[in-house]
């Protein structure tokens, strides 16, 4: 297939109201979780590594809305969006972030390594780019046993320069795996701006070199973002192979909470502000006749849920040191 045939055009096709409501709810869940986390960190109530997702909420939420509960997701340390939007129960999620024994991983994984197979969150990796090869394996399992699942793997623009990205893209295209590669291009890899780590204008441009389909979308536009995810997921589920989605977005709060971001130029900060996905999404919702009250109510419910979850997580126990002997191998260590 020629390179131009491999590129899908972004779509502004209308999204039905129920789906829109779903996307809005998930987006706000991601956002309110992020706000709450930052508040707790600010107040010094918790002191853990947290990679803010402010500015990227819609990308994750819309992408997760295109998946079923059974579909698999692999994400990164900056995976709060995928994790909460895919449906990890708030209390389990918070407890893990706070290192509690009631957390998804009993406090052993932590913020960078949230796993919750019940909702398809199979791996959260802290090694940049390492999720893509693993995601292929999940998709390969689905292809092998015909379970109809789709795998989506989320990663950053910076991750597109590591070897694992390349190997995984080529392998997925070769086997036509049921997988979606979601590159959240937030314009920075740690402190390095996109143009300082990549000489081509876009990551999506790389897909053609693997014979893979791709689509480049504005991740702050709910229509472009959801329609792209839906297209790619449907394609994968139909056995028509992988798609690379490059979703343009902004990392509005630096690399991790508390990290210096003085290296970000003021123009960039202004640009980001103008493209904030949240007011844009709210405008779309209002335009589609959701009322202010209805939308506020969704947020209020989310906040209540988060508050309960945080309170319970704070009150829960830390794991016992005996946990160091468990889950190393199948049998407990002596």
């Amino acid at each position: 297939m020629a390179a131009d045939q491999l590129r899908d055009a972004p779509s502004r096709a209308e999204i039905d109201r129920a789906t829109l409501r779903d996307i809005y709810t998930r987006t706000m869940k991601v956002n309110r979780t992020d706000e709450k986390f930052r508040a707790l960190l600010m107040e010094g109530k918790v002191a853990v590594m947290y990679y803010c997702v402010r500015g990227q909420e819609l990308v994750s939420a819309a992408a997760m809305t295109a998946l079923t509960d059974d579909d698999y997701v692999v994400c990164t340390y900056r995976g709060q969006g995928e994790q909460t939007a895919k449906g990890i129960p708030a209390e389990k999620w918070w407890a893990e972030c706070l290192g509690k024994v009631t957390g998804t991983c009993k406090g052993k994984g932590g913020t960078m390594h949230i796993t919750y197979p019940e909702k398809g969150i199979m791996v959260t990796t802290g090694v940049v780019g390492s999720g893509l090869p693993i995601a292929n394996g999940l998709a390969m399992a689905s292809q092998n046993n015909g379970d109809g699942r789709v795998t989506m793997v989320s990663f950053g623009d910076g991750a597109a320069n590591i070897g694992g990205f390349h190997e995984a893209m080529n392998m997925a295209a070769l086997y036509q795996l049921p997988i979606v590669f979601l590159c959240q291009n937030n314009r920075y890899g740690e402190h390095t701006a996109f143009a300082d780590h990549t000489a081509s204008p876009s990551i999506a441009d790389r897909a053609a070199g693997y014979g893979m389909r791709s689509i480049h979308v504005d991740g702050n536009d709910v229509h472009q973002m959801y329609n792209a995810a839906k297209l790619a997921v449907d394609r994968a589920r139909a056995g028509e192979g992988p798609t690379l989605i490059e979703a343009m977005c902004y990392r509005m709060m630096g690399h991790f909470f508390g990290a210096d971001f003085s290296y970000m130029p003021p123009e960039h900060l202004a640009e980001m502000k103008a493209e904030d996905p949240l007011p844009k999404l709210r405008a779309v919702m209002l335009d589609r006749q959701f009322t202010e009250a209805e939308l506020d109510d969704i947020v209020a419910q989310i906040d209540a849920e988060i508050d309960t979850a945080v309170a319970r997580a704070l009150a829960a126990d830390f794991p016992d040191p005996h946990e160091l002997k468990v889950d190393v191998f199948e049998e407990e260590m002596p």
Binding site: Y72, V74, G103, T104, C105, K106, G107, K108, G109, H113, T115, Y116, P117, M122, V123, T125, V127, S130, L132, P133, I134, A135, N136, G137, L138, A139, M140, A141, S142, Q143, N144, N145, T151, G163, G164, E167, A168, N170, M171, L174, Y175, V326, D327, V328, F329, E330
Partner: protein
């Protein structure tokens, strides 16, 4: 019954073990470079004939992409399958250690036991075939130093079959090291379903004077030398670890408790090799009960040279092993 029992080579043994496991469990599949029928069934023919039976989804020939190979195995294992990934030669783990060590070995723990990674990584290596510096290393000590992964290596065809079945059965990731020079070794066919439990060493030869603790190809050297030493009245017990890590400390200590003397032997370079762990443990656990210090023999501390004239000097030599045995006997 007349005639000898049927014999199988190590290649056949591995092939049979994989074949049996694939026949029993649809979730078992192989992936690696050149493994399928179209490519000749693997460069060492271990997966020969399997594509014809199980198809190209279960015998997947891959691009030259070790990170993608191991990564895919990790992912498929998380989804409940039992992949057998091949890394053509052991040195190439250098390009995919992250997937093995940071992911395969750790995901059970980091997920708090919600997931596990039942994969087997088969690889081969070996000094003595002139493959040179980048194709000959034994790197088992790297994996032994990582919690969450098992390291296995057979020294004979029957063990190869039994260990491979157990490795595939294992719910933990296993690095399965084959030695190129052992592929042609023959054993009596142990028959279908044969298993050698992981974590159990074998006493390859009983003896009473000194324990020679080894694994893989050097077991052959050890047995040959034990024969010779018997003729001069030194009784060498050869311990074949089979599972290098976590190893069978009990059997090792029992042997040394009996003999009072121990020598560790491996092809990997001596410094920081697995022999160091065993020597340190034996000294600590059998303090006051040893007749001589534990001696360690390993490959020369240099990259593996190309030419046979150097390569044969690089590997643990017979005179070196004999000298260690004699030196050990002189003590106590």
């Amino acid at each position: 019954m007349t005639g000898k029992p049927p014999q199988i080579t190590m290649v056949q043994a591995l092939n049979q073990a994989i074949d049996e496991a694939m026949a029993e469990d649809d979730g078992v599949f192989c992936l690696g470079e050149d493994v399928a029928a179209k490519q000749g069934g693997g460069v060492f023919k271990v997966t020969s004939g399997l594509t014809e039976k199980y198809g190209t989804h279960r015998i997947r020939a891959t691009p030259i992409s070790e990170t993608a190979i191991v990564g895919a195995a990790v992912g498929a294992a998380l989804a409940g399958q039992r992949p057998i990934a091949e890394i053509m030669l052991m040195n190439f783990v250098g390009v995919c250690m992250d997937q093995i060590v940071n992911h395969a070995a750790k995901l059970r723990f980091m997920s708090g036991g919600q997931t596990n990674v039942p994969l087997v990584i088969r690889t081969t290596t070996g000094v003595g075939v002139g493959f040179g510096g980048q194709h000959s290393d034994m790197l088992e000590a790297w994996f032994a130093h990582v919690a969450g992964i098992r390291v296995v290596t057979p020294s004979n065809a029957a063990d190869a079959k039994g260990l491979m079945r157990s490795a595939i059965d294992s719910n933990d990731p296993v690095i399965f090291i084959e030695n190129i020079l052992c592929y042609g070794l023959k054993s009596d066919d142990p028959g279908p379903g044969y298993r050698v439990p992981l974590g159990e060493a074998a006493i390859a030869r009983e003896g009473s004077d000194v324990s020679l603790i080894t694994y893989g190809r050097t077991v052959l050297d050890a047995l040959a030398i034990a024969d010779e030493m018997a003729s001069v009245g030194i009784s060498v017990e050869v311990v074949d670890l089979r599972t290098i890590a976590p190893y069978d400390e009990e059997t090792v200590l029992a042997s040394v408790r009996k003999t009072g003397r121990a020598i560790t032997l491996h092809e990997a370079v001596r410094p920081y090799g697995t022999g160091a762990e065993m020597a340190a443990t034996i000294h600590e656990k059998l303090w006051g009960k040893l007749k001589a210090p534990v001696l360690r023999i390993g490959g020369t501390f240099s990259p593996v040279p190309f030419v046979a004239a150097l390569e044969q000097a690089w590997i643990p030599t017979k005179p070196e092993i004999v000298a260690a045995i004699r030196s050990s006997m002189e003590n106590g």
